[in-house]
């Protein structure tokens, strides 16, 4: 009984999952493009393509 109730309905292996390469690439590109400028205690974000 215990086994029945604890059986997951999602057959995919939850522990061995990773994001798509394009997601990683987007994040690395976003990081490169983002620059934070400081001016008199103020911070401005700029996305430079």
């Amino acid at each position: 009984m215990q086994k029945m109730y604890s059986k997951t309905s999602h057959p995919e292996q939850v522990n061995n999952m990773a994001p798509k390469d394009e997601t990683i690439r987007f994040l690395l590109d976003y990081s490169k493009a983002l620059s934070v400028k400081r001016y008199n205690n103020l911070k401005f974000e700029a996305l430079l393509n």
């Binding site: 999602h10 995919e12 939850v14 522990n15 061995n16 999952m17 990773a18 994001p19 798509k20 997601t23 990683i24 987007f26 994040l27 690395l28 976003y30 990081s31 490169k32 983002l34 620059s35 934070v36 911070k43 974000e45």
Partner: protein, 194 residues
């Protein structure tokens, strides 16, 4: 420089100081754990991908704005951001994890939309009108009991009091009202279905 052997703290510091490759190492190191954590909550690949992306956008912005205090807790910090975004996702959708349709099973074949569409509403109105007209044709005593029972939702006890007859008589009138209605419907082949 072999960055795979560096601690998170060293990589975070390098990234803050402008070493973009440090971020790549941090993501590579933790992506599986963070992604799996998000998926274990939302059970949807696309949503997981979105939340994973939003998590690291927040991480990148916080690090670049100098908002992160290094206390050797990079992964727990990222997990907390992911956790908060998962909560935001459910709040936005105002529900718990949604059911995922598989190829062999579609939840909508079991569940149906309870509300009627415009056409069905129209038909329902017509059917109700037909029923009212049929009721008008019933003998007065039967009509009275049926209207009280069905439209006014009164109990037979209340009906018997109001019409000044016994409960059995009220029940009998209701029974004959239904029999007579069925007879008329059968006789004239009236269709009363939606």
């Amino acid at each position: 420089m072999k960055q795979d052997t560096h601690t998170d703290a060293v990589l975070v510091s390098a990234y803050i100081n402008g070493d973009e490759s440090a971020l790549s190492h941090l993501i590579t190191r933790h992506k599986q754990r963070i992604y799996s954590f998000i998926y274990s909550k939302v059970y949807n690949r696309d949503v997981t991908e979105d939340i994973f992306q939003d998590t690291f956008i927040k991480v990148i912005r916080s690090l670049k704005r100098g908002k992160y205090n290094e206390e050797g807790k990079f992964l727990p910090w990222v997990m907390r951001i992911a956790h908060n975004l998962v909560i935001d996702h459910f709040r936005k959708n105002n529900r718990m994890p949604k059911f995922e349709n598989k190829d062999d099973f579609n939840i909508f074949s079991v569940l149906s939309d309870g509300s009627l569409n415009a056409e069905k509403q129209l038909i329902k109105g017509q059917v109700e009108n037909d029923v009212r007209r049929l009721i008008e044709e019933l003998p007065e005593d039967q009509k009275e009991v049926l209207v009280m029972r069905i439209y006014k939702e009164m109990s037979f006890k209340e009906i018997s009091k109001q019409t000044d007859v016994s409960i059995n008589t009220a029940l009998g009138r209701m029974r004959y009202a239904l029999i007579n209605l069925r007879k008329v419907i059968d006789k004239h082949n009236i269709v009363l279905t939606n």
